[in-house]
Subunit: 160 residues, 2 copies
């Protein structure tokens, strides 16, 4: 089971977008991350469709976060890029074959499906507990205070 | 992100195998579940490779659990079928581009990768907390006491 590779790019984009107030062109974000602009544009469009970034058209257009980084969670970004479908789908195996569980005993989900969905919820809860603002703080701690300010300056001016 | 569809079949097979002591031919398990024998054999072989079931050759051959259902976890089965690779792979995006984080600041994993891996661990912990024995108890509660005994009789004799 593998998350889309776009999740890593999208999370990094959201974190660097915390350092600016003006829209940043997709091409500039691609240059910062040294990645194909077409590929990054795809991730940014998915973030836009999920309402996490807003695309501003025109000469000084680009992408901005639509709301405070403290109200965008990791789960929002992961679902935007990878889709919100559950990782385990119960196909009602229990209703098959010569000893099929009768329909009247199937009003609740199968215990196996229930256990799988508990595990999935644990993952989603953990992703929901962390915001882009939390990550921005951690990046500054890990890479040195002022790191994201520096990124913001570069995104605006092209100078580090 | 989607788990292999084989996970549901493999979990159901492990649960029904708690009801027998003698090996059950793959074809019989396939008949019980009304599924293609070739497809089910693939899942059983993966369980065997992971050391969860043992394949007994010969006339009264088939599959048995290799150990007590209380020491086989959901995680064991999921990893056996879906593979144990993490769902998020960090490709070290932070080391790319004009503002790359210098190598000496990258001795710890990126905070983003850390948060993703915390969420993955929450899922794995939840899967590790449930055993095949737990599921067997729940199946009997949900489908009625004696359900798995009935399945055991059918697997041995072909009669419900
Ligand atoms: S019937 Fe789907 S998990 Fe049991
Ligand atoms: S560099 Fe991989 S998640 Fe940040």
């Amino acid at each position: 089971m593998r998350l889309s590779g776009g999740v890593e790019w999208a999370l990094h984009c959201c974190v660097v977008l915390t350092s600016v107030v003006e829209p940043v062109p997709a091409a500039r974000l691609a240059e910062l991350h040294d990645v194909s602009p077409t590929y990054l544009a795809k991730q940014l469009q998915a973030l836009a469709r999920a309402g996490l970034v807003h695309s501003v058209q025109g000469k000084s257009g680009g992408y901005v976060l639509t709301r405070s980084p403290s109200s965008i969670t990791l789960l929002d970004v992961v679902d935007a890029i990878d889709g919100p479908a559950p990782s385990f789908i119960c196909t009602e195996i229990r209703r098959r074959g010569p000893l099929a569980t009768p329909a009247e005993a199937c009003t609740e989900p199968c215990p196996i499906a229930r256990a799988m969905s508990t595990a999935e919820s644990a993952r989603r809860d953990a992703l929901r507990a962390v915001t882009i603002a939390d990550l921005a703080v951690q990046v500054d701690i890990s890479s040195g205070e002022g790191t994201l300010d520096g990124v913001g300056t570069w995104l605006r001016t092209g100078n580090a």
